[in-house]
Amino acid sequence: MATRARKQLTLDARGVYYRQLNERIRQAASQGVSRFVLNNVNGQRYIATGLVGDLVFDIHGVPGQDMAAFMCGPLIRVSGNAQDGVGNTMDGGKVVIDGIAGDVIGYAMRGGRIYVRGDVGYRVGIHMKAYMDNVPVIVVGGKSGDFLGEYMAGGIILLLGMFSDKRCSPITGRSMGTGMHGGVIYVRGEVPEEQLGPGLHAQPVGADDLRTIRGIVKDYARELKLDGEDILSGGFMKVRPFSHRPYGNLYVPA
Amino acid sequence: MHYVLIGNGIASIGAIEGIRRQDARGAVTVIGAEDSPAYGRPLISYLLAGKIGPDQLALRPEEFYKKSGVALKLGTRVLRVDPKAKRVHTDKGEAVAYDRLLLATGGKPFTPAIPGLEGPGVYNFTNLDHAQVLISLAKTMKRAVVVGGGLIGLKAAESLFDRGVEVSILELAPRILSLAFDENAAQLASRRLMDAGIAVHCGVTAKEIRRDETGAIKGLLLTDGLFLETGVVVIAIGVVPNFELARDCGIKVDKGIVVDETMRTSDPEVFAAGDVAQAKDLLTGDNRVVPIWTNAYNQGFCAGKNMAGAHEPYVGGLAMNSISFYGLPTMSVGTVNPPEADPDYEVAATLDEKKQSYRKLVFHQGRLVGYVLVGDIDQAGMYTAFVKFKLPVAEETRRKLVSGEPGVLLWPDEFFNQTWNPGTD
């Protein structure tokens, strides 16, 4: 994909309001531009939000909220940190963040991949869902805040805990996987039981899981120029929902 | 346009209705040898049994011919057809010109060569005259022998028996109903007849009819040496196509009159239908003579439409028989006795002797191709659908068919909708 000649547009985003920036991107995309280099991005929201198709974005700077929301197809590389809401309800494509990312990453995401090299904030991967061949994946190289994978209904979260600035924190915050009723969370190393949501337990991974992890890590390492074998050298545990109907017995007809 | 139909049976009725579907005006003339308006030949047994009166014989109401604009020439025999001049010559000395001609002359009873056959007291069972004679004879007659254990023979036996006559049936084959039914069905039917009091002799036939000096029949000597005393012999072995008219005027005949898919004979203005025609069989696709009531009507109908200018192929006849013996209904449709060695056929049969009920389904390459029902016949039409429409029979469907629960919901969706809800998505 990278080898194909692409019509490229380089934009200096300094001081450009997001609405103009995104309008410009949409317009260019409709005219056949498929590679965007955005320089001096600083807080512009909704970059690549709602975009479809084979587009590539190289973002230099700090993109703003809801980057890649509802996105379906494009590849985004951020050479820095990202803020909150990356990949909100994202459908497909890939977001690679060579830094840390904020809260609520991949909310209700149902396809595509989000790779973060460093730490992520709270409520990452909540409400992720899968259907048939659409299986969203989030890989976090560092550590995550609380409520990772809350309400998770499908997809894969891979938490490595390796490239983190938070030396003393546990690999994940509290209430991981609360209300989870689908999908799987893989964690490199041990999962502190007290950090798990009610009813959840970490189990050792099986051969199938390892095959899945290996596939994901390979791509992750390639995108972020990391040593995949080093990542895979650690042990992995997994957290799965104890029921696909966690609240089935909570109610009685009045 | 003048349509002339020779023969006044069900094929002609079909033809009249077919012609009128297509052409409201053209003149239609029917020439019939018998004196009465068209009647249902199978009704003869009902008449003979006293179940219906002569007034109930007519197939169509009196006004039918008038409303259909048909001129009737009854009691008239056609002696000759002149295809070149497009005329038919009758025994009344008339020459009737036609534009299109239908030969619906039906079949004639097959009479075996039995010594002593010639003379009084021998009847067949295919026309009204004989039936009327038998009715009057039945008052005095004590015993009768019916030669032939097929459908006609059995019905003849039953109706005579109902008139108080002691009846014996002779069947050459090892069992009765050998053609249309299988052994189990025959067994149940035969049991029902015997329980009623009819004597059934299988594997034998008449060797000789013995007569007294007046020529009256004394009795019948059987091939196994038994002698049955009787005054009356009813020959009910079957019918053969009555195709002499066609043959004599050069129209191509084989087992019957040869017709193409539009029921047209080798003469383009002459059509044939009914028991005389050798037409397409639905299941095999071959042309053969299938002397079945329904086929006769359908062929007549199809011929009628095509005579009047349509070009609609005959879909093919399906052999089917429905007959009851003392309240025990039996039915057979399509292929019921598949070649035993052929592995492509599969038979599923359920027999319940106590309930006198029998169901036999014959499958061929994922399709139902025939069935026999005895006793419980209420689902018959639903089975017929599978045979007639050649519907696919998947596992669940097969199970349902075999367990006696066929239904329209087992039809493929698309076919169901086309059939029941045409014109919708």
Partner: protein
């Protein structure tokens, strides 16, 4: 009757079967999805089990000999104004199960209904009432943000051209829409029926939060797509499928509470549309986890506007709660083009009873205070207001509009139109009327042809009544009614209530 918990016998209904009329035809047996009627082999006749009856009246409605009457169970506890039987029965159930009381549809408790305390005006002598049958009468309504003023250019030929760029609008032939009811909570047949009825009557239906089935995209011009916390079936094409997008924050029947579609209702079609696996629960959390503050709402509103390239108005639906006026003001300032407000009497497929019956405020008060607040702040034209939650008849709708709403949503009324009897057991998935069920055997009780016709009839009937009421007031266009509280008078309300509603007492 033996061998079952005692409180099963404290059932709510009894089935009254008239033996002279019952012919044992089993229509009731086949219709009752709760198996309250059954064929008794021993007795060789149809029998029933009162404890299973939920009071849906399906059997009564279909009994061909009118042999059945469903009655309230006459068995009563000793009179106690405080400890009414419902409280006792609920406690018995909870003591047995330790579970949360679940209810459905709008709250059955006696929360004051202000529609019943408001009366409409009519013209007499000094101005003429207008006859809607013969004179033009306009109900056409546009939802969306309106500019404060317009600029025109006049061409040389005298024709005028609009210079102001108009924000996107949803055009409605009647100021009524079908409320959000998700595919899954109700079945496809009703979605199709709503879509068709909306198309036929020139209004909109709301998909609810369960996505949009692929065959319904063709009804886009009459569709508002909803985005809720579960984000079921939400993707770019979905967002762009209709004429408006609605962010669901809350629901009148359960403000502050999420939703939960049980796995039983997740059939193949529902799973496909929601983009979730077959048979697993569909959980909508109480909040959108990307919205914890008003600026987050703004963020989502504009994410949706970006995704729809600013072609579609964005609506935000909230439950009517105590501070609704301030909340709505914030929502309008966050960029919403439409605000839908759902009052405490709003319907639901499932809600904890305590929430349903005790949280929220009536829609009448909410609309009045929101409309006034937005006018006070000079931002009323920036967003349209849609009132929802217990609109039972066209007069309710007219009153809502006179109080300040632009249009109303009807949910329960639409379901009643197709047979719902408010038995309030939607969450069982066994709706005998084929509404709140995806069981193919039950769902087909809703023939979309029939349902669409009934829904369209309802809209037209209400429309006609609204025209009559409007004509009676001497108005021939709905915009002259909107916010026109002069057309309302209160009966039996306190000064305080009238102040909030902004109406005078009748006689004044």
């Amino acid at each position: 009757m033996l061998f079952r918990p005692v409180n099963n016998n404290y059932h709510d209904f009894v089935i009254d079967r008239d033996k002279d009329r019952c012919i044992n035809c089993k229509v009731c047996v086949r219709q009752c999805s709760y198996e309250a009627h059954y064929w008794d082999e021993n007795r060789q006749r149809v029998m029933h089990d009162n404890s299973k009856c939920v009071g849906c009246h399906r059997c009564e409605a279909l009994c061909p000999t009118a042999a059945l009457t469903i009655r309230k169970n006459p068995s009563e506890f000793r009179d106690n104004a405080l400890w009414r039987p419902v409280f006792l029965k609920n406690i018995y159930k909870q003591a047995d199960t330790g579970a949360v009381l679940l209810g459905a549809m709008g709250s059955p408790v006696d929360i004051p209904c202000y529609w019943d305390h408001l009366l409409l005006d009519a013209s007499q002598v000094t101005n003429p009432s207008i006859d809607p049958l013969r004179e033009p009468m306009e109900l056409k309504t546009f939802l969306g943000s309106k500019p404060r003023s317009l600029e025109f250019a006049t061409a040389r030929d005298g024709s005028r051209r609009l210079k102001t760029k108009m924000p996107p609008q949803i055009e409605l032939r009647y100021p009524i829409m079908f409320s959000a009811m998700s595919l899954g909570s109700i079945n496809y047949n009703l979605h199709l029926a709503m879509a068709r009825a909306a198309e036929e009557t020139g209004i909109c239906y709301n998909t609810g939060e369960g996505g949009l089935h692929k065959t319904l995209y063709r009804y886009g011009p009459n569709t508002i797509v909803q985005v809720a916390s579960g984000r079921f079936g939400v993707h770019r094409d979905y967002i762009n499928a209709g004429v408006g997008i609605e962010i669901k924050i809350g629901q009148g029947a359960k403000p502050g509470i999420g939703g939960h579609l049980p796995g039983e209702k997740i059939t193949a079609m529902v799973a496909e549309t929601r983009m979730i696996p077959l048979g697993s629960d569909a959980i909508s959390p109480a909040p959108h986890h990307d919205i914890y503050s008003i600026e987050d709402l703004l963020q989502l509103i504009y994410a949706l506007k970006e995704t729809s390239e600013y072609r579609l108005p964005v609506s935000v639906k909230v439950a009517a709660v105590h501070n609704v006026a301030a909340i709505v003001s914030g929502i309008v300032r966050a960029g919403a083009d439409i605000v839908a407000i759902d009052g405490v009497r709003g319907g639901t497929g499932a809600a904890p009873c305590m929430i349903r019956d005790n949280v929220g405020i009536p829609i009448e008060l909410a609309i009045a205070s929101v409309d006034q607040r937005l006018r006070d702040e000079g931002i009323r034209s920036q967003a349209s207001i849609v009132a929802a939650g217990g609109i039972r008849c066209s007069a309710d709708a007219v009153k809502a509009i006179a109080l300040g709403a632009d249009a109303v949503y009807i949910g329960t009324a639409a379901l009643v139109a197709v047979g719902c009897t408010l038995c309030a057991r939607c969450y069982t998935g066994k709706c005998p009327w084929g509404i709140a069920t995806n069981d193919p055997k039950l769902a087909k009780r809703q023939n979309p042809d029939l349902a669409a016709r009934k829904l369209a009839n309802l809209i037209r009937a209400w429309g006609h009544e609204m025209e009559e009421m409007l004509g009676g007031m001497g108005l021939n266009s709905i915009e002259s009614l909107r916010g026109n509280r002069d057309k309302l008078r209160a009966v039996g309300l306190s000064r305080e209530e009238m102040d909030i509603l902004g109406v005078k007492h009748a006689g004044n």
